[in-house]
Amino acid sequence: MTANELLPLAVLASSLLPGLVIFALPEERVALRTALNLAGAFAKIGLVALLVAGVAAGEDYVFRYAVLPGIDLVFKADALALLFITLSTVLWLFTTLYAIGYLEGAPHRSRFFGFFSLCVTATMGIAMAGNLFTFFVFYELLTLSTFPLVVHRGTEKAMRAGTIYLAYTLVGGTALLVGIVWLHSLVGHTEFAHGGIASALGEGQAGALKAIFLLLIAGVGVKAALVPLHGWLPQAMVAPAPVSALLHAVAVVKAGAFGIVRIAYEIYGIEFAQSLGLLLPLAVLAAVTILWGSLRALFQDDLKKRLAYSTVSQVSYIALGVALFGPLGTIGGLVHLVHQGVMKITLFFCAGNYAETLGIHKVSEMDGAGRRMPWTTAAFSVAALGMMGAPLTAGAVSKAWLGDGAEAAGMGWALWVLWASSLLNAAYFLPILWRAWARPLPAAWPDEHIPARGRRETAWLLLLPPLATAALTLTFGIFAEAEWSPLAWAKLIAQREYLQAAF
Amino acid sequence: MTSGLVFALAGVALFAMGAAGVLLLAELMRRVLAFNIMGSGAFLVLVGLAQRNDVPDPVPQAMVLTGIVVAVAATALALALARRYQALGGRDELAGDD
């Protein structure tokens, strides 16, 4: 086995092995558990850095293992995979740090971190999947490993949310499976390839291919929270904040969005998908989701629920970018995969901080929070402005490219959707900022756990991760043209995967 | 109609009666007896059909001997279980399905 085959496996192992050991650790081995978590996270960063350097230089990293005759488990670290992997790896580190602070003294931490690591492993598998079979294996693994996290608190409410989550994701997974097997029985394999594999069947099978596309998109659309398959996401809010961060920014919804990218570009091929007339319905669905999510967010008083509906809306930017037929839209969608992750994780970290420090769960309780917790609120503000697409933030970059993509594709209406969404974003985020910064301090906080001590507004481990991700939000916005930025990488992907096929 | 066929038809009839008994009777003792009738029916078919050209075929005889041993063992087990069941619960038929 060569080094190029081993590296993708090592990326998986760097979270799988610590996770398995953590399961076996007794609850009170805090130091060892923390060390394992961080060792895994840093090892993964190192491995991913190696991969990034290699892929930029044109190396191939493929590992193949036959499971059944004609069906292989394939891991392939290509440029698109690495976009997702790098995002997940970096955010995993921050989320781990945050979770260590957040769960201090809470019960069942070994179980929590064990499943946490499994969840990241599944995400890595999804990112590196080289065919739909492998994608499905890890897609379901992700469902299974997130369920214990969603129900972690063990309350009836958490159980209800967990049940709803499972109902949606397992049914979605089933649709995905049928689509994959059907495709497999027609094409004979399900490899991801530049330009797609479905076009080999030609227009003669257009009916079947359309049905398969519907099944596949329905399957991944559940995790990507496309309307009307989004119902689980706001319910899953009962989970602890690090889990919400993971669901919304790193793993679950991203897995769905990433699946849409893979299916559209590397199973159907964007041109073939266009010629089958599949892209316009997808774009309309994404647009509806964007607007519906934003509208629903307006009316949520629960802070995390408002953020959840915001996720519903924002993740569909990625789907919209895919569906805009043209490289500019692709770049916009891909870069938003990273940008949305960084911004949304900041928002959830901050929401967790408000809840843990002051017991704030509702928007109406946010009055004066900025004075009590200036750093957290500053991070929150940066991310919220980013979501609106304010200049200098990562969000502005995404929206600019998506807008250009819409124009280039001749889909002017999509531009209106983006504008309307920005306005709605402002309408549900600005009141929060106004309350936090401009309203006076209340007489008492709902439930203050962590008293302020000097300049330290809350525990360090809770404060540093949102500050770091907020800084990334600004960095990705300001230095968008740098050669290490997500934008540059998205351009590289578009060049390699899209233009190669287009021209 | 050859004598073999008569045996075989009688065997099938016995089997059917026995099987109906195993299925439909309530009392354990009667069900055990019905099982034995059912088994005898099968043995009769086996021996009866094998009598071709009036040359005795040793193979079905061996089979029936084996089958009788099995049937005796099964009957013994059924009787032992039924007795114990009666001793524990004072009933000679099985409680209704759940």
Partner: protein
């Protein structure tokens, strides 16, 4: 022991007798050692098959028809491997499960030995009559095991099971008699060229009787009535043995007949087992979803999972992965169901309650057992990367390739229904609940064997190639 076939039957007979004399203490270790040797023999047999192809064997040098012929092909080897592997882990489990002086243990070991001897003989027998004898041996030993708990409910379940199994094998025997009457032989090999599509009516009748009898013994809907009380009421190691292995034995026989002598007749009625199998999946899952008792839930799940095995029959005539799907399902369900009963046994042992509600809070106290239950559940739901997933994939693949959309829909629905009953338990386990006062400690041996079985059922999903390669040796289908 250059020839493993007869030893696979003689060895369990020998240790079964010896454990009866030695008693459960030392006898248990003897049994475990015996099964370990059987495992080695089966691996040797599998290696031999892969290298040299199928080998016939005449026991004691006596030629058929009066002698007993044995034969092993890939299908038999897969079933033998499953049986010895599951039996070894369950024997270890049983060693920890039965308290010293437990009356049930006195009966468990000898009966388990006779059961294994019967099963191994069944997989290897090459003629229809010897198959009848092995069927009875398996059935009687299994009934004894069900009764070994000793309670009135268990004896009732055992009697119900006994009458069902006797009726099933009686029907089979009558079928054998009719076949002998028609052809003058019961050797599977000799029958193969004799049976064609326009056979006398008696042979049709014989085939119907034999298959119906075997379906009764496999607890295919609507013949499943005896299974839930028998499997749900027995001591945990017994439930595991019965649900994982014994019902597979009669399924194996159906498969043998279907692919072998009765293949020319089978095409006409192929939809019937699939229809019954579909009904079994839906009804069994529904009852599992409604079950109040934990072990009864697992037992009803067996009724449902057995249904999948029968979905393959309409697909099996055409080339394709249908047979592989069925065998994969049999093997992965065997491992998973053994794991699930073993895990349920640990939960019941610790909490003292056999109810689904009693599982509350188990996640905190028995994480390993719960993990075993969950992994087994993953296999039953057919989620990746388990063996159950491969089975489901192959089955849907075969169904879609032949345009059998209804079958694919049943498989899909069955997977979702399985998710409902599996997560009914898991959800309960994650609830925060106060510790039960009467809690017993969980013996690690029990927890780890349950886990090993469950892990095997999942890891099978990564070793599908080996299994299918072995299966294809001398394959009739």
């Amino acid at each position: 022991m250059t020839e493993p076939l007869p030893w696979l039957i003689l060895l369990p007979l020998a240790w079964a007798t010896a454990t009866f004399l030695l008693g459960p203490g030392r006898g248990a270790w003897l049994a475990i050692a015996g099964i370990a040797v059987q495992c080695g023999l089966t691996f040797a047999l599998a290696g031999q098959l892969l290298a040299e192809g199928p080998q016939p064997h005449a026991a004691g040098g006596w030629a058929p028809p009066l002698g007993i012929a044995l034969a092993a092909d890939g299908l038999a080897a897969v079933m033998l491997l499953l049986t010895q592997g599951v039996a070894l882990l369950l024997a270890l489990y049983a060693r920890g499960y039965f308290a010293p002086g437990d009356q049930a243990a006195r009966h468990f070991w000898p009966l388990a030995g006779f059961l294994l001897a019967g099963m191994n003989a069944l997989f290897l027998a090459a003629d229809l009559f010897n198959l009848y004898v092995t069927l009875e041996l398996v059935g009687l030993a299994a009934v004894g095991l069900v009764a070994s708990g000793g309670g009135a409910a268990q004896l009732g379940a055992a009697l119900r099971y006994l009458f069902a199994t006797l009726l099933g094998s009686g029907a089979y025997l009558l079928g054998v008699a009719l076949v002998y009457g028609a052809y003058g032989t019961v050797s599977i090999e000799l029958l193969l060229p004799l049976v064609d599509a326009d056979v006398p009516r008696a042979v049709w009748f014989a085939a119907a009787l034999m298959l119906a009898g075997l379906m009764l013994k496999t607890a295919l809907f609507p013949f499943h009535f005896w299974l839930p009380p028998a499997h749900g009421g027995a001591p945990a190691p017994v439930s595991a043995l019965l649900s994982a292995l014994v019902v597979k034995a009669s399924f194996y026989l159906i498969l043998r007949l279907w692919l072998g002598p009765f293949a020319p007749l089978a095409a006409a009625i192929a939809w019937l087992p699939a229809l019954l199998g579909s009904a079994a999946i839906l009804w069994g899952s529904w009852r599992a979803i409604r079950a109040e008792r934990l072990k009864l839930l697992v037992a009803w799940s067996t009724v449902a999972q057995l249904g999948y095995l029968f979905l393959i029959f309409p697909l099996i005539a055409a080339p394709g992965p249908a047979l592989a799907a069925g065998v994969m399902q049999a093997v992965s369900h065997g491992l998973a169901k053994a794991a699930m009963f073993a895990a349920a046994g640990v939960v019941i042992h610790v909490t003292g309650r056999d109810t689904v509600a009693g599982v509350a809070g188990v996640a905190g106290r028995l994480p390993l057992t719960l993990f075993a239950f969950a992994l087994a559940g993953v296999t039953l739901m057919g989620l990746p990367p388990s063996g159950g997933f491969l089975a489901k994939w192959l089955l849907i693949d075969a169904a879609l390739a032949q345009g059998a959309w209804a079958l694919a829909a049943v498989v899909i629905a069955g997977g979702l229904l399985a998710a409902v009953y599996v997560f009914r338990v898991l959800r309960q386990a994650f609830l925060d609940a106060p510790a039960v006062e009467a809690a017993h400690p969980a013996p690690p041996l029990l927890e780890w064997t349950a886990f090993a079985l469950a892990a095997a059922s999942v890891l099978l999903g990564l070793r599908g190639m080996e299994l299918l390669r072995l299966l294809s040796v001398g394959s009739a289908g």
